[in-house]
């Protein structure tokens, strides 16, 4: 009988913080921009330049630590991690090894077997590296330091996960918390959230962990899931062949669905950490800690509770809406503009979800504004457009965030409220469809649907169906 294996996974998650400026200089963190246009002597490692810490970085790190039940380190230091690579302009990265800002936390995830807590070993602050672009024409690489010095927190979990599903659940939960805090947008595809997977396997029932490998370059949940499966299989195969797993860093190639060892002779992995003499300690007083605690925004659980109290909408809808900070923001803002909560919820739950699915988008990718959704709802409330038209207009809002009032005006989609004109159109429809009229009069009440449709067609869709119905019933009496 073949052996049963258990996968043991811990994650190192890097999150780019949503500060306006870099961690140690006043350069913008804005994404994109021509190479090296967001740089200065500090973030390009010019001789003589010195780092000065961005206070907001500390506050975001504290906020994440508090939201993930960590203990906040009140005496903090920064250390230098020394290694040579061109994306690292000083050839050392300023990070925290000895005194990370948060320790000993954890978050709860849902698994098929119930709730499970994933421990967080530590969270530390550090700077991001620049970007290397490989030049195909010249067989060289080009260095862009725009990302160099963008603030990161690294969230190191305990080896508490046992499957790809748990990993994804943990990441989704972590992402939601950080998004709720406004500490990062956590976009895997833009690299503002990145996960390195530490994975080992062991026989079921074994008490010791196996030798682990670290996998880098995972930029989607799907890639993470595939990498976990791939690495698990690779390690089991080695063990089955009686070989050893080597502790090493591997790079996942998602196209080939295979990981490669990144070791080289020049890569000694001896980072010679020591406290950065250019930076002074960060001391977090009880007072400061309490201030940050008091400023903590409402997280998902609290929001759910509040929605239940304030809005008369199904719990399922509340779960979906609060499952994305961005969606919840749109929901609340639309309501604050005067829209009925039930109607807002309806637009989000039905049409928005349908279009997201159709475009293979995440709720975070929603581009439309609450203002335009509120205007649309107002147009329907005023019966200025009917529901068919409204859906058509909403699609435009979803795609291009158009102003529905101007759009309806421009395209002439307004419902005709002139009863006289409608009445004469209906009279015409009755005259042209004697068969349907007869069916109706003979008791086939459904026949009225056909007549409504014919009227709507004549009105080019710009009529209120209930009004048509009312007039038809009256005329057919």
């Amino acid at each position: 009988m073949s052996k049963q294996y258990e996968t043991v996974i811990g994650l190192e998650v890097h999150v780019e913080l949503a500060t306006k400026t870099k961690i140690f200089c006043g350069c913008s963190t804005e994404f994109g921009g021509a190479p090296n246009t967001h740089t200065c002597p500090v973030c390009t490692g010019m001789p003589g330049s010195l780092p000065v810490l961005n206070k907001q970085v500390v506050e975001y790190a504290m906020a994440v630590g508090l939201a993930t039940n960590c203990t906040i380190t009140q005496f903090n230091k920064f250390d230098r991690k020394n290694y040579f690579y061109p994306d690292n302009p000083q050839n050392y990265q300023i990070s925290q090894l000895y005194l990370p800002i948060c320790r000993d936390g954890g978050i709860e995830i849902d698994t098929p077997a119930g709730k499970k807590t994933i421990g967080i070993h530590e969270i530390h602050m550090e700077e991001d590296a620049g970007k290397l672009i490989h030049d195909e024409w010249e067989d060289c690489s080009l260095v862009d330091y725009n990302r160099s010095g963008v603030p990161l927190i690294e969230i190191v979990s305990e080896p508490d996960m046992r499957s790809a599903d748990e990993v994804i659940a943990y990441l989704e939960k972590l992402r939601l918390i950080i998004q709720y805090l406004g500490a990062s947008d956590c976009k895997l595809n833009e690299g503002s959230m990145r996960a390195d997977v530490n994975l080992s396997v062991r026989e079921v029932g074994a008490s010791e962990f196996g030798t682990r490998t670290e996998m880098k370059n995972l930029n989607s949940f799907k890639a993470i899931a595939r990498a976990i499966e791939g690495e698990r299989a690779r390690q089991i195969e080695l063990l089955e062949e009686g070989k050893q797993v080597i502790q090493e860093t591997r790079r996942w190639d998602d196209n080939k669905e295979y990981s490669y060892a990144m070791r080289s002779k020049e890569d000694a992995q001896d980072y010679r950490y020591f406290p950065d003499p250019d930076l002074v300690p960060v001391i977090i007083s009880d007072e400061w800690l309490n201030e940050v605690k008091a400023k903590q925004p409402e997280l998902q659980a609290e929001k759910k509770e509040r929605y239940k109290k304030e809005f008369d909408i199904p719990e399922y809808d509340i779960d979906i809406i609060t499952g994305s900070k961005h969606m919840a923001d749109i929901f609340e803002e639309t309501i604050s503009l005067g829209a009925n909560p039930k109607k807002v919820s309806n637009w989000l739950m039905v049409e928005t979800m349908r279009l997201l699915k159709e475009h293979e988008m995440e709720p975070e990718d929603i581009k439309f504004s609450a203002t335009n959704l509120a205007k649309l709802i107002q147009l329907t409330d005023e019966k200025a457009i009917n529901s068919t038209v409204a859906k058509e207009v909403f699609e435009q809002i979803f795609n291009e965030d158009i102003d529905p009032v101007a759009y309806v005006e421009e395209k002439g989609l307004k419902t005709v409220n002139d009863e006289g004109a409608l009445r004469s159109t209906i009279e015409q429809v009755i005259a042209n469809n004697p068969q349907s009229v007869e069916d109706y009069k003979s008791g086939k009440k459904k026949a009225i649907g056909f007549l409504v449709g014919q009227t709507m067609k004549e009105m080019k869709g710009k009529a209120d169906p209930s009004m048509i119905n009312q007039i038809l019933v009256e005329l057919l009496q």
């Binding site: 006043g26 961005n54 290397l132 060289c140 000694a268 001896d270």
Partner: protein, 97 residues
């Protein structure tokens, strides 16, 4: 000499420090490092078990910047000292993936 520095150690430190020493330099470096470490070992005469390591002499702490953009686009200046550049980027030998 109490500290004998091996060839492997010199080789290893060379990798860490990105220095490539000639055979002659290596021999000299082994000697120099050995005698420096012998000298430094003098510190072991001191009982420091009750002493906290002191990185900063003064208790200056919590020096911060506010999160306000102060730098504009200085690319031309930043890149002008580069030994090799291309299209506004620093040019380096191909890095392996």
């Amino acid at each position: 000499m109490a500290n004998i520095i091996s060839d492997e150690t010199i080789e290893y430190v060379g990798i860490l420090a990105k220095l490539e020493l000639s055979e002659e330099e290596k021999e000299q470096a082994k000697k120099d490092m050995g005698s420096m470490l012998d000298y430094i070992d003098m510190l072991n005469q001191l009982d420091t078990s009750e002493v906290e390591p002191m990185s900063h002499v003064f208790s200056v702490n919590n020096v911060f910047r506010e999160d306000v953009v102060t730098n504009g686009d200085d690319r031309e200046d930043i890149i002008k000292n580069a030994p090799a550049q291309k299209e506004g980027s620093f040019k380096v030998p191909k890095t392996v993936d």
